[in-house]
Symmetry: C2
Subunit: 483 residues, 2 copies
């Protein structure tokens, strides 16, 4: 029998986890559970990452973690145990399924049925948290998007879409503004799409996507996005179906996967047996399908949908004129409805698939790199300098230091060119960006760059530098506005 790790969580965690495992047991789900120690009380015992070393070892051995909501102690400078888990185990894809579950939402009332799956990249973007103050006035956050990281999550999204017989897969992005970073993500999307000709693959600008999601959410099926945009769109979709209490979450990695409820721990109602187990149950169903228990998942999901259609509800939602049930009663109602089919369309009962355990021991960190194809040349450097002078004064100083091998190409302030041409209306902050390129794109060495740095540092404080690369004959950097 397959064994998974279970962390019950804080607050209402234990009671909703018990309800879900009761439902699994009643449906003869062929799983064994090893309960591990994670959560607020583990921080309180002195483990600064919110889990005991034994818990970590068990999870790494078993490869699957099913977890209730957890709290991170405030003001102790410790990181969220939820985020630590996702990062530590490199769960690169966050999958969330949003479907109409009950009639108590704005969209149910308007008769619009929702069934959207969001796949969000879970590691990159500004979530690396690499931030600096360049001057007293100017803060910088580095947003990284990588080709192998994008390929991992997009590949997962297409595989999942194929398995669920999706009709459409959409890439949400902002590549009209972030042409290189989000451009890379979209490029990876269409590269992978070629291997899935049966799926309709398209892309949409993220702001337009959000407008469409609140007018015609029924037009979407699977949507894949980078981290921050995916975060925002996920929660928007949770709102469409009634909030986090109806939104499951799965974090998928190559070695370890985490299935969890992402709502809060609701300490005010903890221990009262009145919490709503729906989100955790849905997360559990995502896990069952991930593990190949397709029949169990469909039976339980259809029973859940049928139960909700009957108007059976916990105290947090539904028709207030109808008496609410408690957590145990809700679970019992789902169990009693095994075999029933919801009116809104039953979930198909695919046969069980063989379980493929992905866990193996790692000797060292896996390296994910693409094959390099073009030759790489350094052709310049961007210098980010601190100054309160006017653009022409800065240009004059820069031009003294070009060493006969560089040319000063552009100076911009907050991304708007202010030299050689610009507008007098552009407001200046005390941080400029000066671009030096080699004359005729001649190849440069790091020594050339360092020499320029040294010369310029006599006149300016240089906060930051960035090499300008060419791959083959293609410039690997954006042009300045107006360049």
């Amino acid at each position: 029998m397959m064994k998974i790790a279970v962390a019950k969580g804080d607050g209402i965690g234990p009671e909703i986890m018990d309800a879900v495992l009761t439902i699994f047991k009643a449906n003869n789900v062929n799983l064994e559970y090893e309960v591990v120690e994670m959560g607020k009380w583990v921080f309180d015992k002195g483990h600064s990452n919110g889990m005991t070393p034994e818990a970590q070892q068990t999870i790494e051995n078993l490869g699957i973690l099913f977890k209730g909501p957890m709290e991170t102690p405030k003001g102790k400078g410790v990181k969220s145990v939820n985020v630590t888990a996702r990062k530590t185990w490199n769960t690169y894809a966050n999958k969330r399924v949003f479907q109409t579950l009950h009639g108590d939402t704005v969209f149910s009332k308007a008769g619009i049925l929702i069934d959207i799956t969001i796949v969000r990249e879970n590691i990159e973007d500004t979530y690396g948290g690499i931030e600096h103050m360049l001057t007293h006035d100017v803060a910088l956050s580095r947003r990284f998007i990588t080709r192998p990281g994008s390929m991992q999550v997009i590949k997962y999204a297409f595989e999942m879409a194929r398995k669920k017989n999706a009709k459409r897969i959409t890439c949400g992005h902002k590549s009209n503004i972030m042409k290189i970073t989000d451009g890379l993500f979209v490029e990876c999307f269409y590269e992978i799409a070629k291997d899935y000709p049966e799926l309709k693959a398209d892309d949409v600008i993220v702001d337009d996507l959000c407008m469409k999601l609140v007018t015609r959410p029924d037009l979407f099926d699977v949507v894949v996005l980078t981290n921050l945009q995916g975060d925002i769109v996920s929660d928007l979709c949770a709102g469409l179906v009634g909030g986090l209490g109806f939104a499951p979450s799965a974090n998928i990695g190559d070695h370890i996967c985490i299935f969890e409820a992402v709502h809060g721990t609701a300490p005010d109602i903890a221990g009262k047996n009145i919490a709503n187990p729906t989100a955790l149950l849905l997360s559990g169903l995502t896990m069952l399908r991930h593990l190949g228990f397709m029949e169990n998942a469909a039976t339980i999901e259809n029973a859940l949908l049928y139960t909700l259609e009957q108007g059976i509800h916990t105290g947090d939602f539904g028709d207030k004129t109808k008496k609410s049930v408690n957590t145990t009663e809700f679970a019992d109602a789902v169990i009693a409805n095994f075999g029933k089919m919801p009116k809104q369309g039953a979930k198909p009962t695919w046969p069980n698939k063989p379980v493929t355990p992905t866990v193996f021991k790692l000797e060292k960190n896996p390296l994910i790199v693409s094959k390099e194809m073009e030759e790489e040349t350094i052709v310049g450097v961007d210098m980010f300098i601190e100054s309160i002078e006017q653009p022409t004064e800065i240009a004059e100083k820069c031009l003294k230091h070009t060493l006969g091998i560089f040319k000063l190409v552009t100076i911009s302030n907050r991304g708007t060119q202010v030299w050689p041409k610009g507008s007098v209306f552009t407001n200046l902050v005390n941080q400029y960006f000066c671009r030096f390129e080699s004359i005729g794109d001649a190849p440069l060495s790091q020594t050339d760059i360092i020499e320029l740095y040294k010369r310029l540092s006599a006149d300016f404080k240089i906060n930051s530098t960035e090499l300008l690369n060419m791959w083959g004959d293609k410039k690997a950097y954006s042009l300045a506005q107006g360049q």
Copy 2:
């Protein structure tokens, strides 16, 4: 009489602009209009920024531009004329008002009335477009948030909120992840809030905001955000009220302001006199209020709301069982309803305010800087290097070059620490971040940094560097995950 510049735009632009100006004239709005040449046909005449030099001069002299939708020619490598206008004239605040206008939306049907004003920062964030490929696999976008830029837009939002007697002003952000950049924005928000004690000021994480906007949009009044988040939230809100055809837009600067419809030019229906002038009319009303024509604005807006409540509609929206009207008939209906009050609550008719022209000649670019308070010290440098080696091998090489003045503090990959501690499950891309700090936070010179750079460059290709600053005894940079 005050004069403003008018650019009618492409496609349906001229006919909807004529409709709006007809309404203004019928209400005796005391304005004169100078029509300027901007748009697709101006690109076609060879002006690469989409406007003639005479148009630019007129707009800079008059200070106010009222514009229809414009098209940017595709595939010619030219920038959007809309974005160029906003950037050239430093319109740092984008204001958009979203209100329930007709019964044909999901939220109208659910009986939820919406009246939200979004103020979006319009210059900074990743919109500077400063992007680089660091390796073949790793793309970087720089996200800048500045103190003076944040102060400008937030100050505007509070002033506007005060003028409209707002009940609440909310800052949307992601400072739980982008602690320094969005942290700075939130800090500015609460700093300015102190001067407006009559306004309820609060903040909300942007993903939570989006969830709430699709469940309880009526809870919000004025919301201020950084550029990308504001872009996404604006379009979400446009969706709530029926799309871009019902969403006005104003771009506010210290010297020049632009009022425009942000929907498309709809070339397929251009010249047929059937387009919907509502968004442009609403943008015009925002302009009238900005200029102090409070009575005109209220009369016209109440007439518009009344007209829409009567079910009068152009072909793009409304009750399909009721015959639609054309553009001219729609404008005439609004004019015929001057003096009528909408059932959903009439807009208050404040007395006109004296118009304060803000236009003056600029001799040089305005500098916006804060007063520096603490002493500034360089205490280290982050080196972003290219490598496919394991973390311990990289550390070994770095440690050879510390020159007795630096210590190697952390190595991370995509923001996750991999040295001195880390998890074997962390997947590595070919780009590392190595942090060097001075021993005991001793002050460093740029020469020290350059010397380290030179030494390291013998072993690595260094894509990027970033100084580590302290202001007083406060570190002006984020710690690495796990540091």
